[in-house]
Structures are given as C-alpha cells and as structure tokens.
C-alpha cells in the first residue's frame, strides 16, 4: 500500500520532469533555431559591396552602407546622452538616495520606464523633441527618444553593480580623507565597471535594434548620402528591414535577410563581448 504510493509518486515525478524538461528544451531549441535560420537566410546576401554600397532600385539592389552608418551615428549619439545620465542616476540611487518614500517612487519610476511601449516613446519623441523642442526629424531627436528608452536599463545595471561593491572599500577611501564624490568616482565606480559596461552595452544594443521610436523622429526610407550632422535625417538598419518588407513589392530576400543578420550579429557580438569582459574581470575581483 505504502510502496505503491511511493511508486506512484516516482512515476509522477518522472512524467513531470519529462514535460518540464521538454519545455525548457523547446525554449533553447527555439533560440538555436532562430540563430541558425537567420544565419542561413542572411549569409547569401552578405558581401563587401553589401556593406559599403548605397541601396539601389529602392533597396532591391546595392548595399546598406547608409543604414549601417546611420544606426552607428544614432547609437553613438544615444550613448553620449544615456551613459552619463544613466550612470549618474544609478550612482544617486545606490550612493546618495536617502532611505525614504521618495527613493522608492524613483525606483518604481525607473522600473516603469522600462515597461513603456516603444511606440509610446516614439509618440513622446515626436511631440517633445521633433515638434516642441524644434529639432525636427533628425538624428538628435531620434537619439534623445532612444535615450529615454535606454535610461532605465543603464540606471538599473549601474545601481546593481554599485551595490555589489563592498562597503569596506568605500570606508577605506573615506577614512583616507577622500570626499564622498571622490570616493565614488575614483574607487566605487571603477570597481563596479564590469557590471556597468555590461548594462550599457545591453541598453545600447537594444537601442540599435529599435524601430518604433525612430519611425517618426528621423528615420527615412532612402538616402543616397550619409547624414551630415545632428540635424540630418538618417537611414537605420531596423527601419530599412521594415520598409523593405512592407512597402517594396518584390523585395530582395537575400538583401533584407542580410540586413537582419548584420543587425543581430552586431547586437549579439557586442553583448557577448561585454559578458566575456565582465567574467574575465570578475575572476580577478572577487567579493
């Protein structure tokens, strides 16, 4: 009687394990499939000319050079705004914020910013940066929009990385007569650098792949020349994919998939590089 109960429990465990394991496998397999599929579809389109030439025949021929450069410009510009603001925001939450209600509200606001739909950021960017601030559809308007979107990622990553720096290290610097700001800038931030850099790369990689926020803030379908300043409109890789698929009849499969491959590969290469760098640094700094 008792034995059969145990047996039944064992059988249930085996079944549950199999089902759960299959689900986990399914997720991993889906990701693996995505990688292979994108690679397989994208590789035929890749060539040196693809990366260095301007699009021709509405994108059916030629390359993606202006889109590549446009995305780089916008991401660099976003980083210029988002990195200092995000890192300092994280510094505030970890080092300066009083343990009060107001700080809790800031944390909630940061978490909530991360959940605002990207198209809403697009609307906000249109209303605030393109129109109200008068930047027009431009690299700067798109970058500021993407900055708002990237900010919570960097703030959260910075705060978490700073929290992992032991209090002893701060006390050591303070006990040497360093002011709080010097302690933070010269000891705590460098010690937290691996985590912060990972967060920054993750946030900027996400910004590079976003389409909705740049739809109305500066991305254009086609440009024969490169953007010539912050006020210029630009082509971008994700927007290029979108417009090809939705508004070019008989779009060139190879070239569009090639664009997707370039986008995914650079985004994941950046994330992987950050992760590897972090684990190499972590091995050395262990607390």
């Amino acid at each position: 009687m008792r034995l059969t109960r145990v047996k039944r429990a064992r059988a249930a465990e085996a079944v549950a394990r199999a089902i759960l394991g299959a689900s986990a496998l399914l997720v991993v397999a889906a990701a693996a499939f995505l990688v292979l599929y994108i690679a397989k579809k994208g590789l035929p389109g890749l060539s040196w000319e693809f990366l260095t030439e301007v699009p021709k025949n509405r994108g059916r021929e030629g390359g993606i050079y202006p889109a590549l450069v446009g995305t780089l410009y916008v991401v660099a510009c976003t980083g210029l705004f988002a990195v200092p603001l995000g890192v300092l925001g994280g510094v505030y939450l970890s080092e300066y914020a009083p343990k009060k209600r107001s700080t809790r509200i800031i944390r909630l606001a940061v978490a909530n910013m991360a959940g605002v739909p990207s198209i809403v950021y697009g609307l906000f960017g249109l209303a605030a940066f393109v129109l109200a601030a008068g930047f027009g559809r431009s690299i700067i308007a798109a970058s500021l929009t993407l900055t708002c979107m990237t900010l919570p990622v960097i703030v959260t990553a910075t705060e978490e990385a700073l929290r992992q720096v032991p209090a002893d290290l701060r006390h050591a610097a303070l006990a040497l007569g360093a002011s709080k700001i010097r302690t933070v800038l010269s000891v705590v931030l460098p010690a937290a650098a691996p985590g912060i850099v990972t967060g920054v790369v993750l946030g900027l990689a996400r910004a590079a792949g976003e389409t909705a926020p740049i739809l109305f803030t500066g991305a254009v379908f086609q440009m024969r020349r490169l953007p010539d300043g912050l006020g210029s409109q630009f082509m971008a890789l994700p927007y290029h994919i979108y417009t090809q698929v939705t508004s070019v009849p008989n779009w060139n499969r190879d070239l569009v998939w090639g664009t997707a491959l370039v986008l995914v590969a650079s985004v994941s290469a950046a994330s992987a590089a950050a992760a590897i760098w972090r684990s190499a640094r972590r091995r050395r700094i262990s607390w």
């Binding site: 800031i106 940061v110 809403v120």
Partner: protein, 309 residues
C-alpha cells in the same frame, strides 16, 4: 574656523572652499539625474495628454474607446478605437496561450531540476532571445509563421491575429522565463529541504511548496509578459494584416493599438484631429502598460520583502 584642525606642518592639506563647492555641485547634479526617471515619465504623460486634448474635446474619450468604426480618413473622420483595443487584446491573449505554459514549465525545470551547466546555457540563450530586435522577429514571422498559418487553415492570407500572437508569444518568452525563474530561485532552500525531509519527491515539493511560495513572482512575470506583448509594435505591424475592423475570429486580420499609431502617424496632418486621436490611443496604451507594470512591480517588491532579499 576649520584651520584649527590643520596641523602646523603643511603636509596634511586642508580642503579648499573650491573643492567643497565642487562637491556640493556634484551632489546636486547627481540628485537631479536620479530624479530624471520621474521627470521623463511625467513628461511622457504630459505630452500624451496635451496632444490628446483636441480629440478628447471633439470626440470624447468614451466615444473613442467604445466606438466600433475606425475610418480616420473619411470626412468627417470616425474614430472608434474599440476594434484596435480588441485587436491588441486578442493578439496578447494568443501570445499568452503560447508563452505562459511553455515559459513557466521551462522556468520550473531550470530552477528546480536543471544542472548548473544547462542553467548557464539557458540564461545566455534567453538573453540572446531578448536581444533580437522586434523587426527581425517580424521578418521571421513573415517568412515562416504567416505561410504556415495560411496553409494550415487554407486561408487567402496568413496575416492574422493568430500569426501575430504566435510570434509575440515567442518574444514574451524571455521575460516570462527569466522573471519567474528569479521568483522560484528566491524561495529559500530551507523550505524545499523541509518538504523533501517529509518524504516528498522533488516534483511534489515543487508543486506543493515551491511554486505556491513563488506564486506572486510568477504572477508578476506573466503580467510583465502581458505588458510587453501589448506594447510590442513592429512584429504585429508586419504580421497581423492591419484591418481595422472588429475581428470575429483568430484567423482574421486585426489591427492593434501599437500598429495603428505606427502605420498612421506618418500620414496625418500634424495638430489635426486624426493626429490627436493617435495620441489618445497612445495614452490608452500608456495607461494600460503603466498599470500592469506598476501592479507587477508592487507584487515583486512585496515578494522581495517577504524573503528578505
């Protein structure tokens, strides 16, 4: 007056007024950036409301939200956004049906049964899935899911709520898996050991003790998945066909709130009623995701307090 502290030999140099002023300035600046999140969030709300005013005045929120006719370019334009809201909900529902069972099962397996190796691999895999841009998911959907749905149901077009929902489900997986795994992971192992010591198997421990203990975090994970699905734009825009009519089945084309904004904002007269109505749709979207995320955050915070993390 602080000179009294300074020793007579000059080696310990006192701080200058300049360095103190610099510190005060730096602290002020850092505090300002800390509050930036609230400023941005408030600015988003303010700009959405401000630009919505015209449409709210002309049509009224009630008529926009409940109206079933969306003909923004006819004259006079009809701005009934109900089909869009229903479209968003249907697509989200499909996404949940796809993502929740698989996602939760995978999270339970990874947290309770998997070895370290598999855990690490799956973590990297999930990060990778989350990093793929949504437009690429849309592209994969166009190439794979749309033809498959068309063939399977013998439809004229595979651009349906179902196609969009399936892809959205895959996109919501990383959020659901990683947050519910965190919630399960946060359950103290002493609880598990207590159950195992009573002669329960690991599976019994999991469904009797661990999952109930983590239930609020798992709920939050699903909520955040819903938030992501409702707010997702590019994939649905490329996959659902975008017909702004009240859908009667999953196999029809639908248009979501996000898709509407993305598709129409490029062609409207700035400052016009149509322009303003799109901001109303954005406002509805913002309010919905804001409440969902806030609820999830509060639940997560409660859980953190519970386990004293």
């Amino acid at each position: 007056m602080t000179d009294t502290l300074r020793p007579s030999d000059s080696r310990s140099r006192g701080r200058t007024a300049l360095s103190r002023a610099a510190e005060t300035f730096a602290k002020g600046f850092i505090t300002a950036t800390g509050w930036l999140a609230i400023v941005v969030l408030a600015a988003i709300a303010a700009f959405l409301v401000w630009n919505s005013l015209r449409a709210l005045g002309e049509a009224g929120l009630g008529r926009i939200v409940t109206g079933t006719d969306w003909y923004p370019t006819s004259s006079p334009g009809k701005f009934g956004a109900a089909p869009l809201i229903v479209g968003s909900l249907i697509v989200t529902l499909v996404a949940l049906v796809v993502a929740v069972p698989v996602g939760l099962a995978a999270a339970v397996y990874l947290s309770e049964f998997a070895g370290r190796r598999l855990k690490e691999v799956s973590k990297a895999v999930i990060e990778f899935m989350a990093a793929i841009p949504s437009v690429v998911y849309g592209l994969v959907g166009v190439a794979l899911v749309v033809p498959a749905v068309k063939r399977a149901f013998a439809l004229d077009s595979g651009l349906t709520a179902l196609s969009g929902g399936i892809v959205l489900g895959v996109m919501a997986l990383p959020t659901i898996v990683s947050i519910s795994e965190d919630a399960l992971h946060a359950v103290p192992s002493s609880l598990r050991h207590a159950s195992l010591a009573l002669g329960n198997t690991r599976w019994q421990t999991t469904y009797k003790v661990t999952v109930p203990a983590a239930s609020s975090g798992i709920f939050a994970a699903v909520m955040l998945g819903v938030g992501r699905a409702i707010g997702e734009t590019m994939a649905v825009l490329m996959l659902t066909g975008n017909a702004a009519v009240m859908p009667r089945s999953l196999l029809e084309s639908v248009r979501t709130m996000t898709g509407t904004i993305a598709a129409e904002m490029g062609e409207v007269v700035q400052g016009g009623t149509h322009y303003s109505v799109l901001f109303v749709v954005g406002l509805v979207l913002f309010a919905a995701t804001f409440s969902i995320n806030l609820a999830a955050d509060l639940v997560l915070e409660k859980q953190r307090k519970r386990w004293g993390v």
